[in-house]
């Protein structure tokens, strides 16, 4: 087989490892079923293989390293949804997919089928380094300085079953970007890595100690210019300091952000430098040959477009207003002339954010084959990207997406809502997230209204674990339980870009229906008080939250 476009090509070593791992897990499942293993003994094993026991059934979370997969892998996800689940999958905020209705006894077979297309569920749970995330426009974006997938893959291989970091104090999340615009929420990760070219090779700016959860924190810069050859040693040292000093006595204080806050970034940096000083740097050196060997496992697409591709595209836009509108919200500039990147929204008005049926997943795989070199990316916004689309073929793609019910023109707009599964599925949640997301997206479903509102991001979490990233939402909603009833706390001003900030609580939590009305009033107030060209965050920054508080808590 030719190397896939967009992600690393497995070899026999990778495949033998996966096969052995599945055999091991199949034996653990058999021993659990016959009672040789208790649930307490089995739980760490199943979590290491992505298998949770959730509210209604087992849930299997499948890893999609740096969010990139090919069409045969996408079709396998559809096949698993159809055969072993209830005909749909849910794309997550860590660029993975999860299946909510899995049977324990089917799991080894599912993992074997995933392995047949070089996929697995490792690093999707447990106190290890989780699936590495990256920019959904990696290798395609016009503003990109360094393609981050090569280093994301290097970090995936370095972190997978790393013997020293398999039992960290808590889970550990890494994101890698190569663009000056932070599209990976680098500053909200345990470690965020931003690559850029230097005079003598790639340099890495590294942030540590970011995170969401009950103690949200914006990551702090620990190093500005780590050389490529020192990248693994530096990350190893950062992890070692955390592994040695991170708290294990209190699950709520076990993330690296707590340690960074307790020590202070300067002391943390000193500890890392001390660790580096006593490490055998030659052992950890990431050589140009190693990087080149990984880069060679990625095939490059032939990005030759006809000279009139852009003219054809502009003519299509002029002829078809709905296409033009969708283009404005759902496309991103490509580095190659005549090409464009497309974000397929999985957020139809009134729909469940991130859900896709098996036929939609199959359909997306077919469209990837026809329009984007057989390659797809899952975004942390719970959408799907076709990264390399020829501009003169974009209108055909739009029509094909429309037939699949996947042409919603709302990416980055108010109905492009991120929501965790919430109490409808999650064993940890206090309240449901999906119903309020559905109500809000229906309320703001009118495409004209959404364009008028402009860039506005709503994030919803069903509990303080913040899987819906509400701290980073321009408008954030946190579900809380008040004597058995669902209420929502509103935060304003969160963002996960270069100016990352944690949203601030607006006031007392509101019942669900009142919350929908309150958000609508906040948006109305923004429209009435904004100045020309101001985004919601601009207006909030200029006037503070008082006008929005007044609107939110206004009583009829």
């Amino acid at each position: 087989m030719n190397a896939p476009i967009g992600h690393y090509q497995y070899d026999s070593v990778d495949r033998d490892f996966l096969a052995a791992r599945i055999d091991e897990f199949a034996d653990q499942v058999a021993r659990r079923i016959d009672g040789a293993l208790t649930e307490d003994e089995f739980k760490p094993f199943r979590l290491m293989n992505g298998l949770y026991l959730q509210l209604h059934a087992y849930m299997l979370r499948v890893a999609i390293p740096y969010g990139t997969l090919d069409s045969r892998q996408m079709r396998m996800l559809a096949e698993i949804a159809r055969t072993y689940d209830r005909d749909y999958g849910h794309f997550t905020t860590r660029q993975n997919i999860q299946f909510n209705w899995i049977r324990l006894e089917d799991t080894p077979e599912i993992l074997r089928r995933l392995a047949s297309v070089d996929m697995h569920a490792i690093q999707t749970s447990g106190n290890c380094i989780r699936n590495v995330t990256s920019d959904q426009f990696a290798g395609a974006s016009a503003d990109e300085l360094v393609d981050p997938r090569v280093h994301a893959e290097i970090l995936r291989q370095w972190s997978t079953l790393h013997p020293e970091f398999t039992f960290l104090p808590r889970k550990f999340k890494l994101a890698v970007s190569g663009s000056p615009e932070d599209r990976v929420a680098a500053r909200f990760h345990d470690v965020g890595v931003i690559a850029r070219p230097g005079p003598d090779g790639t340099l890495f700016r590294i942030f540590v100690g970011g995170g969401m959860g009950r103690t949200p924190a914006v990551g702090k810069e620990i190093f500005d210019s780590v050389r490529e050859e020192d990248l693994l040693a530096t990350l190893e040292a950062i992890l070692r300091v955390y592994n040695a000093h991170g708290r294990r006595d209190n699950i709520y204080k076990a993330r690296i952000k707590i340690l960074v806050e307790a020590l202070g970034i300067d002391a943390y940096r000193e500890a890392v430098l001390a660790e580096l000083a006593q490490m055998d740097m030659a052992l950890y050196r990431l050589t140009p040959d190693m990087v080149a060997a990984i880069r060679a496992r990625f095939a490059a697409p032939d990005l030759t477009a006809p000279p009139d591709a852009t003219a054809t595209f502009e003519a299509d836009r002029a002829r078809h207003p709905a296409f033009d509108r969708w283009t404005r919200s759902n496309t991103h500039p490509h580095r190659a002339p005549g090409y464009i990147s497309v974000t397929v929204s999985l957020k139809p008005a009134g729909g469940i954010p991130g859900d896709a049926t098996s036929s939609q997943i199959d359909g997306l795989a077919d469209l990837a084959d026809s329009y984007s070199f057989g390659e797809l990316r899952i975004t942390h916004m719970q959408n799907v990207v076709l990264a390399h689309v020829r501009q003169d073929r974009l209108f055909d793609l739009f029509q094909a997406l429309d037939e699949l019910g996947l042409a919603t023109p709302n990416v980055g707009l108010v109905s492009d809502i991120i929501a965790c599964p919430g109490l409808d599925y999650c064993a940890l949640a206090n309240s449901r997230s999906i119903p309020i997301a559905q109500k809000l997206s229906a309320r703001f479903g009118d495409p004209t209204l959404q364009e008028e509102v402009g860039r506005l991001r709503i994030n919803i979490s069903g509990c303080i674990n913040a899987c819906g990233h509400h701290h980073a939402g321009h408008i954030g909603l946190l579900g809380v339980d008040k004597r058995g009833e669902e209420f929502f706390q509103i935060t304003l001003g969160g963002r996960s870009d270069n100016n990352a900030a944690i949203g601030e609580i607006l006031g007392p939590a509101l019942p669900e229906d009142d919350t929908v009305d309150a958000i609508a009033r906040i948006v109305d107030r923004y429209l009435s008080i904004r100045e020309l060209g101001e985004t919601f965050l601009d207006t909030l920054s200029r006037l503070g939250d008082a006008p929005f508080r007044e609107a939110a808590y206004e009583t009829a």
Binding site: R103, D424, R432, E485
Partner: protein
Amino acid sequence: MKRPTRLGEGQKLILTANRLLDGHIVWRDAAGQWRPSITHAAQLDTDTAQTALETLDAQKEGVVGVYEVAVHPGIPPSPVSVRERIRAFGPTVHPEFATELEP
């Protein structure tokens, strides 16, 4: 040791778990059978529920994660918390996945 669930006036306890093989939610009836519908779950007082929790063998009965749920008595009983109502009747966002109740 886990503290017994506090009951409001007129409330009862029922026992629930997930089935080991498929994870699906089940409810224990008066005969000690685990059933997918909440309709005929045995409605117990605190002491009886506690005794049942201490004596049942989850592995032998093919279930995992057994615990008690406070309910308003009736047929079917109605769980007090939103969480348990969702477990009993299915996710609210997929009506087609609603749990079928036995008559």
